[in-house]
Symmetry: C2
Subunit: 150 residues, 2 copies
Amino acid sequence: MKTFAPRGTTEQIEEGRVFAPKFDADGLIPAIVADAWSGEVLMLAWMNDAALAKSIETCEAWFYSRSRGALWKKGETSGHVLRILEMRVDCDQDALLLRVEQAAPGTCHTGRASCFYRAVSLREPAGHTLVLQFKKAERVFDPAAVYGGE
Amino acid sequence: MKTFAPRGTTEQIEEGRVFAPKFDADGLIPAIVADAWSGEVLMLAWMNDAALAKSIETCEAWFYSRSRGALWKKGETSGHVLRILEMRVDCDQDALLLRVEQAAPGTCHTGRASCFYRAVSLREPAGHTLVLQFKKAERVFDPAAVYGGE
């Protein structure tokens, strides 16, 4: 039972108008989430077939949690629903980009605006000593209040 | 032989200053590439341990090709090298965001500026008939000239 169109030739996949997303061996496709207005990349999450179908039908972002093994609607607990204004697919149709409007600021479960709040030190030999720098790491909501503590 | 630090507790991973990236079962981590100046999301690619180490050391983007099973430097053939101005890691350290400066316009091998040049039709029952709309799909370089034909 496949919801979406089967994969075609490379030409059809890259230059065609049929949506034929490629799910990986675990049945998942990565979805980049960016703020539609600022362009800021907020998070990367995963969709299975059902999450993708629900996201397309409702224009709200649904994902598949690999750790919990379950479908989840972003904002179900926090109220921070993501309204999808546009969904793009990449050349080989194995990655998605959602341009979203946030119902409330703060996409990361830690309370930050974006999940990408730390930078990796560059121009160094890679190793166990690589240090992260906090960037734009102020919290825009209190996770304990929103998620009801630990 | 692990190049990077081992994973710690959730608190250490999310709030710590040690870079401890999580590679998946295939030894890969997804890397979102965005233009540092416009913020535009250009592509999603994969890094293994070696590609990540080389990217950090050289500040040029190296990836791992799942189809070819090999390390590759973006721009090796095309000259369209990506200079990494900043590398971010997400809360659970299993996704990267590279903010890059492009040596030449056009990141997608099809000649487009971004790999995300088509939009998925929304608010429809998901199915085999979902149609893609081309958006910003003009070519900024000629792939045949850059890659030497098919």
